[in-house]
């Protein structure tokens, strides 16, 4: 057993876990943050994507211990109270989700994509960057639309700040 201390969605937490515990297990089983999902166990589908120190990571493919001291943001931590993150709003407005299972990972990856590319996104880039997130419902059409829409919204939000 080890004690892992980390910040999750702005709150400092300290959790005793078996050494083999994955970050996604710590989030889901110990902190009850069940918005982060497991879809494949092999780092392919991206349902488990969270942000660690501001970058997208696949939480099913790292040990909880590797996140010791890190700042983790999950899907539960990106809205400001009742105000949705622009990426969340864009997914809803563009019908970028159906069953919702891949959605948290998609949104977390998409925020990272927009942040890394600034406003310089086009459809081909979004499709290429989403290679590590699998959706079986939407055919990606509306997810791509949502990411491009959110890129614009995030630029406006940034300019306003």
């Amino acid at each position: 057993m080890s004690t892992v201390k980390l910040t999750v969605n702005g709150k400092a937490v300290s959790v005793d876990v078996e050494d083999r515990t994955l970050l996604v297990q710590l989030l889901r089983d110990h902190l009850n943050l069940t918005g982060t999902h497991v879809g494949c166990d092999t780092s392919q589908c991206g349902a488990c994507v969270v942000h660690m120190d501001g970058r997208a990571v696949k939480s099913c493919t790292m040990l909880a211990g590797q996140a010791d001291g890190a700042n983790i943001t999950t899907i539960e931590g990106i809205a400001k109270g009742d105000e949705l993150h622009p990426m969340q709003a864009a997914f809803r407005d563009n019908h970028g989700l159906q069953c919702g299972y891949c959605t948290p990972g998609m949104i977390m990856s998409a925020i990272d994509i927009v942040q890394r590319h600034g406003g310089q996104l086009d459809e081909a880039t979004v499709r290429q960057e989403l290679e590590g997130n699998i959706c079986r419902c939407t055919g990606y059409h509306n997810i791509v639309k949502a990411v491009l829409d959110a890129a614009g919204r995030m630029k406006v939000a940034q300019a306003a700040e």
Binding site: G35, H37, L84, G100, A124, N133, C137, G139
Partner: protein
């Protein structure tokens, strides 16, 4: 249409919980005292189980129990069932071997469970599973159709000699022979329809909770049809009587058919929960999904089509071998028969059709309905035949289709189905216009100058949805009726709850079903909620599959609404001292037509529940229910055209354009309909280009993770150009046909027709990987 009524692009009500991480899927649920199950699965495709030694495992930390198939037999838990009886051409019933939830004696596919460890955590259960020793005596296996039907092939079940489940026929063989004997031209085609893994993103899961005091079970499960699950678990598996078993399917992360069926894992979880006296949770991982979720497709077909001198089709002869895997799954028998051969007329006037379907066992994962279920296989076959015919007869493929389109409705095909309505020229026109079909030769020439091979492929599909008229399917061997139920509850304050037997696992019912209420009553959808997925809350219903939830489920809601409205109008008329016939419902009010007299819905509801001043003899309350049984299937149809380029140096395919013109009848929410089409198209494109569940010659699965099985990713597929043409379905009052499966049914033929056009070679099997395309281009 109001802003939230029928036809409005209303943003989904259910989305907020999904985009904020508040969805509630089975694996998100924790119960007090919950234990965890881990299944020990066969690593052999075919073997005798000679013994299971769990003594070491039982001493490991956190282990509660190790249970085996023999104990299931001892406790008289029933075997899995197949719910659709098919009769062979010789009059004999289909030949089935028993499928126990955990194998006591013989395993017949890799991944079949033989035992289960119940422990305090999933990790501890998995640790202990490694210490369970299973003594197998390996048997020779058959991994595909060819191997299974060879004389002297290893036999899976003594009940099915030659590994043959049935040899079923449909149609008039004599009429077909006569058509072929007079034919001016005959077109022949051999087609393999590749095996697919359904891969809903949420792996299957189950939590079983036995209450010893009440002798009552609760099952949380990833189901598309919780009432059917309860019925089957009660009536056939001896788990508990229906009133002692509550089945809850909360948020379910995609189904595509694979979550219709009742699987061994939930049966074992229920049984184990009673045995250990604590809740038992099982959550599958992705490899378990590949090994145990029912696969789809897997046909080998030879077909011949006869034409007269005017290029009119005169006959069609089809012989198909369908792979069922090692056991007959719940609806497997119906998929390559009544859901396949009945659609072999496509959009065409074909006077004579004969189909023979031979179902075989192999040592592979069971095969059952996967998005489209039989209809994609039929549509792919017909549309590949039409393309092949156009090339052989040297006519334009679109024109050959037009020459043979059915244009008069209703139209009785020679294979049971009676098409009620449609306009196949209209959808083909729309698709050809959208893709600029006339301009294609110039674009092809330009691409050639750039060193690329450009191709265009047409696919005109039809499907039978709105599954299904109960009497009709009963006469064909179905063990269930396929109606749907609904209840409308108007609460005393005027808010409304709709209880539906349909189940949403991505389809957006929580929004579209409310839109019907908004349309009829003029109330905002925020005042309406949809209740589904819990057998304790909702009346018996049949669930969601076969594009049935709008055509059948929503019609049931409409019927219940009409009853409720009729009563509410009587109450309003009484309160307003008017004639019931003069009452109209507008903007949430009951108005006396031609006057300014009105009473709001909440006041009518309150009057119904206070019952102080109701019409003489009227019962209090405002709640009505309905069961709706459709009178016919519905027939969504459309035209898909794909334009793409092949790089002759690598065999890689790149999409240029993909257009879809669908006729779904009336659309409730076009935004949601388009989303359904996008998803279906990508599943069809995935089958055409990427996906293939492969076994080696010994029955070992080669594709059991996302590292080996090529799921379509965002950069594998294009954006789509969608349009709709409309003929309203005459079979239901809303005119709805259904949209859930169309994309998956029509897309794959468009892609393969386009690639074979580009490379000028007609024979190319799915998936058309770059390697396969390159070899086909360069074959002698």
């Amino acid at each position: 249409m109001g802003v939230e009524g029928i036809g409005a692009r209303v943003v989904r009500k259910e989305d907020k919980r999904f985009i904020t991480g508040k969805g509630r899927y089975v694996d998100d649920i924790k119960l007090t005292g919950m234990t965890h199950a881990y299944f020990i699965r066969s690593s052999h495709a075919h073997a005798k189980v000679k013994g299971i030694d769990s003594s070491a495992a039982l001493k490991m930390p956190g282990v509660v129990a190790v249970l085996t198939g023999k104990q299931l037999v001892d406790d008289k838990v029933g075997n899995l069932i197949c719910g659709w009886a098919i009769t062979s051409k010789d009059g004999s019933p289909m030949k089935m071997g028993a499928w126990p939830a955990m194998a006591p004696e013989t395993v017949r596919f890799v991944g079949q469970a033989v035992a289960v460890v119940i422990a305090e955590s999933k990790n501890l259960a998995r640790d202990a599973a490694e210490a369970v020793v299973v003594d197998y005596e390996e048997l020779p296996a058959v991994a595909d159709i060819q191997a299974a039907i060879k004389s002297g092939a290893p036999q899976l079940h003594p009940e099915a000699p030659g590994n043959q489940v049935y040899d079923w026929v449909l149609g008039d063989e004599g009429a077909v022979s006569s058509a072929f004997s007079k034919a001016a031209n005959v077109v022949k085609l051999d087609v393999t329809n590749n095996r697919l893994a359904p891969n809903a993103m949420e792996p299957r899961a189950a939590i079983a909770d036995y209450d010893a005091a009440e002798e009552h079970f609760t099952l949380y499960t990833t189901s598309q049809n919780p009432h059917v699950a309860r019925l089957v678990l009660s009536a056939f598996y001896n788990i508990a009587p229906e009133h002692k078993l509550r089945v809850i399917a909360p948020d379910v992360g995609g189904g595509f058919g694979s979550k219709i069926f009742i699987y061994p894992e939930e049966m074992v979880a229920l049984w184990a929960s009673k045995k250990v006296g604590r809740p038992v949770k099982w959550t599958g991982d992705r490899t378990e999904a590949f090994l145990t979720d029912a696969h789809g497709r897997d046909h080998v077909t030879h077909a011949e089509m006869a034409f007269d001198a005017n290029n009119k089709i005169t006959g069609l002869r089809v012989k198909t071998y369908a792979n069922f895997g090692a056991y007959m799954s719940l609806f497997s028998s119906s998929v390559p028969t009544y859901l396949y051969a009945t659609l072999l007329s496509g959009q065409y006037n074909i006077p004579a059709i004969h189909a023979e379907v031979i179902g075989v066992y192999t040592n592979t994962t069971p095969v059952d309905a996967y998005r489209g279920a039989g209809r994609p296989e039929a549509s792919y076959l017909i549309e590949r035949l039409m393309e092949t015919a156009a090339r052989q007869l040297k006519v334009d493929p679109a024109q050959l289709r037009r020459t043979n389109f059915i244009t008069q409705f209703p139209h009785q095909t020679p294979v049971i189905m009676a098409y009620d309505t449609g306009d196949f020229n209209a959808s083909l026109d729309a698709a050809m216009k959208a893709i600029d079909y006339a301009g294609f030769p110039a674009r092809k020439a330009h691409a050639k100058s750039q060193g690329k091979l450009r191709g265009i492929g047409v696919s005109c599909y039809i499907e039978a949805c709105g599954i299904a008229p109960s009497k009709a399917v009963g006469s064909l061997g179905a063990g269930v009726g396929l109606w749907e139920s609904a209840e409308v509850r108007v609460n005393p304050v005027g808010t409304i709850e709709i209880l539906t037997g349909s189940h949403s696992h991505g389809q957006g019912h929580e929004t579209t079903f409310c839109q019907l209420v908004a349309e009829r009553l003029g109330v905002p959808i925020s005042q309406v909620s949809i209740v589904h997925g819990d057998t304790d809350k909702v009346q018996f219903g049949m669930g969601t599959y076969g594009s049935r939830s709008a055509a059948v489920g929503l019609t049931a809601i409409l019927k219940a609404m009409e009853k409720m409205e009729s009563k509410a109008k009587k109450i309003a008329a009484h309160a307003l001292e008017a004639s019931e016939a003069d009452i109209v419902i507008e903007n949430g009010e009951f108005k006396v037509t031609g006057t300014d007299k009105a009473i709001a819905l909440p006041m009518v509801a309150l009057a119904a529940y206070t019952a102080h001043n109701l019409p003489e003899g009227m019962e209090p309350g405002l709640k009505e229910s309905a069961f709706y049984d459709p009178t016919n299937f519905t027939f969504p149809a459309g035209a898909y055209i794909c334009e793409l380029e092949v790089d002759p140096g690598t065999g890689k395919t790149s999409f240029v354009n993909f257009v879809a013109a669908d006729d779904f009848g009336r659309l409730i929410n076009p935004m949601i309909v388009e989303g359904q089409v996008h998803g279906g198209l990508v599943q069809g494109i995935g089958q055409a280009l990427l996906e293939h569940a492969i076994y080696d010659a010994n029955g070992q699965p080669v594709t059991a993770s996302f590292m080996d099985y090529a799921m379509p990713r965002a950069d594998d597929v294009p954006s789509f150009n969608l349009s709709h043409t409309t003929t309203l379905c005459p079979g239901n009052p809303l005119g709805i046909k259904g949209c859930g499966e169309a994309g998956a049914i029509g897309a794959s033929a468009a892609v393969i027709n386009a690639i074979t056009d580009a490379i000028d070679k007609n024979n190319l099997e799915m998936p058309a990987t770059p390697d396969r395309v390159w070899r086909t281009i360069h074959a002698a």
